[in-house]
């Protein structure tokens, strides 16, 4: 078995700015599912990863390399000498799998937002009317005009309002990403996000996490496939999308 090698990747370079706890969540998503070690993971055997397990900011490249490897065909990856595919290719595969539009040259965060909206769309469709009304009430601050009427909370109307908010950029896009990433974390790791920027957002995630968590399991419970490992790459892309939004909503200096 080749050891993991990071391929220069503009889509994942920002991981070097992420905190240890955020990288640990990402590594856990890559290594485990519902507390069980993934049979195909290689990260836990990497000395550079295990040697920096208390400060994963020093091991971001090896974590990114594991995601790149999962994104590529395993057999082809062996011929590449342990290198996988770049994040754009992974995102393209995930978009194809989830039937999300992606065009060459698009900005990553724009495509990722579409993936997140798709996840929410599936979640909203599976909610009862009461749960949707509760979601709209809890998420009122996310809607662009701030006055979304719970009475008109059809899935299509909610999605349209969320898309408008995300298009304006800023905190709404981050909140949508946090909702999806928190649900992913609950489904894959059995716990919520480790490091959420503010207590208000954490309370909000607690309020709406239930119904979305149930619905998201449908998206993630894909069967084992011979090609790209969607059971890994779908949650990983959602989590990477969240980390990107988190970084874009904060300053390094």
């Amino acid at each position: 078995m080749f050891s993991l090698r990071y391929r220069d990747d503009a889509g994942l370079a920002f991981l070097q700015f992420c905190a240890h706890a955020d990288l640990k969540d990402l590594a856990d998503i890559l290594m485990t599912e519902k507390g069980e070690k993934r049979l195909t993971e290689q990260l836990s055997a990497e000395p550079h990863f295990t040697g920096n397990k208390h400060d994963l900011t020093k091991a971001w490249q090896i974590i990114a390399a594991e995601l790149q490897r999962f994104g590529g065909d395993t057999v082809v990856s062996v011929f590449r000498g342990g290198q996988g595919v770049i994040y754009w290719e992974i995102l393209k595969d995930v978009c194809k799998h989830l039937k999300v539009e992606i065009r060459d040259g698009e900005e990553l965060s724009v495509v990722e937002s579409r993936v997140l909206i798709k996840v929410l769309e599936s979640s909203l469709e599976k909610m009862t009317e009461e749960q949707r009304a509760e979601f709209v009430k809890s998420a009122a601050g996310m809607f662009a005009d701030g006055k979304f009427n719970p009475a008109s909370a059809t899935p299509a109307a909610i999605l349209a309002a969320l898309q408008a908010s995300i298009a304006m950029g800023g905190f709404a896009a981050f909140q949508v990403a946090a909702i999806a990433a928190n649900a992913v974390s609950n489904f894959v790791l059995g716990r919520g996000l480790s490091l959420v920027a503010n207590a208000g957002l954490m309370r909000f995630l607690g309020l709406i996490g239930g119904p979305i968590g149930i619905a998201i399991s449908g998206i993630l419970a894909v069967p084992m496939l011979s090609g790209p490992a969607f059971r890994v790459t779908v949650p990983a892309v959602i989590y990477v999308a969240y980390l990107r939004q988190k970084q874009m909503n904060g300053d390094q200096l």
């Binding site: 040259g105 990553l108 390094q252």
Partner: protein, 292 residues
Amino acid sequence: MTSADLFTIDWSKVPQEIADALASGKARIIDGVARDSKSYEILKHIPFRTVTLSQTGDLAQVAHQVQSLTNVVQQSTAVLQTAIALSTAVTVGAVVLSTAYLASKLRELESKIERLEGELRGQNLLFYASKASSYFAAVEATRELIASPELVAENRDLIAHSLSRLAGQRHETMAFLGNLCRLFDHLSPAHQALALDFFHATLDFVPKAVLVESQAAYRLERFRLGDHLRQSARTAYDACLTDYKAWANALLKNVTRAAPGTGDASALIARLGEAKRLIACEQNQILLGTSI
């Protein structure tokens, strides 16, 4: 740098009313004397004691040592916080004013500016680079002039002349830093690396230079001048830091966004730790914000 014997405030001998006045802001320490903040009237000569500090080449280490040595008992929280802040300021200031600290910084700066000048040929910034170099040397020359009361008493005219030159050179240096910051985007990664090294080193040097400048004014008993130039320098320094942070954050967000055609951030990323240390440096804020 090796250990050195330096002065710190002996709080056991500071009268309670003076400690309270310092904590409330009614009094300030100026050139080792507690003075009324408004009238500059002398209230009390501050009692000092000698401490032996190691690692005087690192001001953060100095501050840490002073804080552990500051022994103030049975005082309010406000007095305690003031005592720690002033003790830190006095001793950090003493390292800058009384040891070879500044000279060693000067050597570092000169080597950086020499490399930068080589890359700036053809740019009109070269003129300003030479001005900055003159400023660094003038600061060290002024520090030597105010190193002892005897030298101050004998050379008041020279110190006054230095003060008038330093203010102008400081403005030129800050203008140079501002222009350099705006030039970062137009430099190749290799040139940007040199420019960033120089920029960081100069930004770290300026608070020490401002301490020398303001202390020189205080030693001539030109208190308002000392206060004014310190506040003016702080405003310019903060503005420069703000511009730098805005540029750096925007560049790093482009990396996160991974948008096509964004600039190369490798030089900045390689120096991110240094940039964070500089921006968070408490000692620099103390030197810019506290008279001693």
